[in-house]
């Protein structure tokens, strides 16, 4: 299990380790868009910054780990969403408390929708969300699907792929993750917003996976987790770790450039 720690981070000043507890939420039923790539990216980068990542796979009925420093959630099929919804409501108070306390979270597609206030299906049925993000989603026939670039003041261009039929509308005052250039893309195809940002919680339709090609977002999540857990974000790296991270980011930059040039 530990073979991916081939390049162990140098121990801290007093040999102290700096754990970060990452929750992978519902990996069994909410994982269809390569969402495990987000967990892998955060884990690897944490190690290269000199932290000790602990990934907790939390499915329905599993207790929270002793510490929660970051939560990553993915996209699911309708059946996947049905399977997790009861458990999600049981956890809703905890999740709201984590969000209010600044725990960084990334919720893709299906869980982004469920983090909103409600989802109205195509036949008009209203399904409640857990209300962490001030947004609601309306089911539509048209699927928004394809490569997408959005612009964010904080993260620069966000590169990804969207695939959703629900159209999400943000409440007044809720900040989107970014802005898209074209009608028919993004949250709802109309207002050129994509995703949402509430405190340190990011909701988005972008996958591909999202984090590998968007290291700025990965590092935002890591920084927020480290500051909250350890007081500050302080990379402790040897040359090997620094070089490896630079190499990974060089490859990511090339992958971003190609992805941004591809047809929708």
């Amino acid at each position: 299990m530990n073979e991916h720690m081939q390049t162990p981070a140098p121990a801290g000043r007093d040999g102290e380790t700096r754990p970060i507890d990452v929750v992978s939420l519902y990996p069994r039923d909410m994982n269809i868009y390569g969402d495990s790539g987000n967990v892998l990216t955060v884990t690897r980068r944490l190690a290269l910054y000199g932290y000790e990542p602990h990934v907790h796979e939390i499915n329905q009925g599993d207790p929270w780990p002793g510490r929660v420093d970051m939560i990553l959630g993915g996209g699911g099929q309708d059946t996947g969403q049905k399977k997790i919804i009861d458990d999600l409501f049981r956890r809703a108070d905890d999740l709201r408390a984590f969000a209010a306390d600044g725990v960084p979270m990334l919720m893709i597609c299906g869980l982004y929708q469920l983090f909103g206030d409600y989802f109205e299906t195509i036949d008009g049925t209203r399904l409640d969300g857990i209300g962490i993000i001030g947004a609601h989603t309306i089911g539509r026939d048209v699927r928004m699907i394809g490569n997408l670039v959005e612009h964010s003041a904080q993260f620069g261009d966000v590169i990804g792929y969207e695939n959703h039929s629900g159209q999400t509308f943000l409440d007044d005052g809720v900040e989107p993750l970014g802005h898209v250039d074209h009608d028919g893309t993004g949250n709802n195809g109309e207002d050129h917003t994509e995703g949402a940002r509430v405190n340190n919680v990011i909701g988005t339709y972008m996958h591909g996976s999202l984090l590998p090609k968007n290291p700025a977002i990965s590092d935002f999540l890591i920084r927020a987790a480290a500051e909250r857990r350890h007081g500050a974000f302080e990379p402790r790296q040897g040359d090997a770790q620094r070089d490896e991270l630079a190499r990974i980011d060089g490859v990511a930059a090339r992958a971003r450039k190609v992805a941004a040039s591809r047809p929708r």
């Binding site: 073979e3 495990s36 695939n163 996958h207 996976s209």
Partner: protein, 498 residues
């Protein structure tokens, strides 16, 4: 329907338009013209024929005395279709099948135009057709298959098919339309559940795996095991890597007692060798197929071939062929294949060779180059598990054209850690940098990244003469690689065009 003036074309005997006699001629002419003009696309003549004579497909296939076998599912369609067709041919039947890659209705029509006589006659006993999940539904609206073989449902091109459960629903329509035997994968819960839909079928049969082999063939629900091999899971909420070792069946908590008996069970796999249980006896045969998953496809093929043979015997016993006396041609065509026992089935299975891109081996500059088509995460995982990288040079070519799938997410559902030891010598294709990034995060050393596929392939096959090579390719990358290798060495015509 008293008082109704509506006339409905009988699906069994589609109405012939006045110009139907000319369809084969026109279709063939278009096909020839398209080829001469290097138009290339195998579907174009089919499109013309569908427009001028929409009943052509159903009318032509209705001539077949043993009907149509339809093969569908996410992974293994092409190889399995080839196995079924080769085995039935080996037993003495005349088989019509669609060439690799044309697994859509129009492709079948185009292939039929090539094979029918100018009088519209199809000289075959049975058709074995591979159709992708969406086109299979389109097809069964026109032609009801005698038998169907439904292999598996895995995440694949979610941008085209939507959700996996939706794909299963598509295959449900095929099961519903089948009149003879529905053959299902017992180990794939979404496929096995389709038994409830096969209301019109005479029988439902399964192909299955011995308990000890189930861990080799995960279902889509076992996809999350990717996370475990890469994350630092501490066991909270279940350490998925342990679950993977225990096998998906164990994880699902199923025991053989819960499962229906299988007509054909894959019992053991070896190096180019497999053991199958049929009628209570275990038989071992050598095979020329590569990769363990192809041996499970062989179990699937055996099950449907046995269904065809039983159908033939039953209809002969009931005098079905003689009774078809109103159609003298069909009576005359009643096939004669002698007695077939399971040993003979094993012998014909041992002659089946891999299909395009499914472990196809090409000799280049004194090195054996194996071409491995990868289309979706589970297929890629099974390929990586089947073809050990040690002692080989590895290249991966990833394109993102429509036929490949535009969304690169699927690469993150594949576990590449088995390549850490050997590394990947060359990464190419339009999305080479996405692939390289994926390998970086799995800590797999990468020799070189070059998006220019033609040059990259040429360099790759020239390196380390004598060392065998694996090239993993998406669909359009495979076409490009084969074309390039075809300029260096002999590459068999796989029926897919250049």
């Amino acid at each position: 329907m008293p008082g109704s003036t509506t006339t409905r074309p009988n699906p069994k005997r589609p109405r012939r338009p006045w110009n139907a006699f000319a369809t084969p001629l026109i279709g063939k002419a278009v096909r020839r013209a398209a080829r001469l003009a290097h138009f290339g696309g195998s579907a174009f003549p089919g499109r013309v024929a569908e427009t001028i004579d929409p009943g052509f497909l159903a009318r032509t296939l209705a001539q077949l005395p043993l009907g149509v076998v339809l093969v569908s599912g996410t992974n293994g369609k092409t190889t399995t279709t080839r196995m079924v067709a080769t085995m039935l041919e080996g037993l003495g039947l005349r088989v019509f099948t669609n060439p690799t890659g044309s697994n859509f209705t129009r492709g079948v029509v185009s292939a039929l135009l090539d094979k029918v006589s100018l009088g519209g006659r199809l000289d075959a006993d049975i058709a074995v057709l591979e159709l992708d999940e969406a086109y299979a539904v389109h097809f069964v609206r026109q032609v009801r298959p005698r038998h169907c073989l439904l292999l598996n449902v895995m995440r694949d091109q979610l941008d085209r098919f939507g959700e996996i459960d939706n794909t299963a629903r598509l295959l449900g329509h095929v099961a519903e339309a089948t009149t003879g035997t529905v053959v299902l994968n017992r180990e794939d819960p979404r496929i096995a559940a389709l038994a409830g839909l096969a209301a019109q079928a005479r029988s439902i049969r399964y192909f299955g795996l011995d308990e000890g082999l189930r861990s080799f063939f995960p279902s889509d629900d076992d996809m999350t095991t990717t996370v475990s091999s890469t994350g630092l899971s501490d066991g909270q909420g279940g350490d998925a890597s342990t679950a993977a070792d225990d096998g998906p069946a164990a994880e699902r908590g199923e025991s053989p007692a819960d499962m229906p008996p299988a007509d054909v069970t894959l019992m053991a796999v070896g190096d180019h060798e497999a053991t199958f249980r049929m009628d209570g006896a275990d038989l071992t045969t050598s095979v020329r197929l590569e990769g363990v998953y192809n041996l499970y496809n062989a179990a699937a093929a055996l099950a449907v071939v046995r269904a065809v043979l039983d159908d033939l015997a039953a209809r002969r016993a009931s005098g079905a062929f003689a009774a078809a006396g109103s159609d003298a041609r069909a009576a005359a065509a009643a096939p004669s294949i002698g007695t077939v026992d399971n040993r003979r089935l094993m012998r014909v299975l041992s002659t089946v060779t891999p299909a395009f891109g499914r472990g196809e081996a090409i000799d280049v500059n004194g090195s054996t180059v194996e071409l491995l088509l990868v289309k979706n995460p589970m297929g890629f995982r099974l390929s990586l598990a089947s073809f050990r990288p040690e002692g080989h040079d590895t290249m991966i070519c990833i394109n993102d054209e429509y036929a490949d799938g535009r969304d690169m997410s699927w690469l993150w559902d594949v576990d590449f850690t088995s390549l850490r030891g050997t590394g990947v010598a060359l990464v190419s294709g339009v999305r080479a940098w996405d692939m390289a990034l994926r390998l970086e995060y799995d800590q797999v050393p990468v020799g070189e990244v070059d998006t220019a596929l033609d040059d990259a392939v040429e360099r790759f096959v020239a390196m380390n003469p004598g060392t065998p090579k694996h090239i993993y390719c998406t669909y359009t990358a495979m076409l490009a690689v084969r074309a390039r290798l075809g300029r260096i060495t002999e590459v068999a015509d796989a029926g897919v065009g250049r």
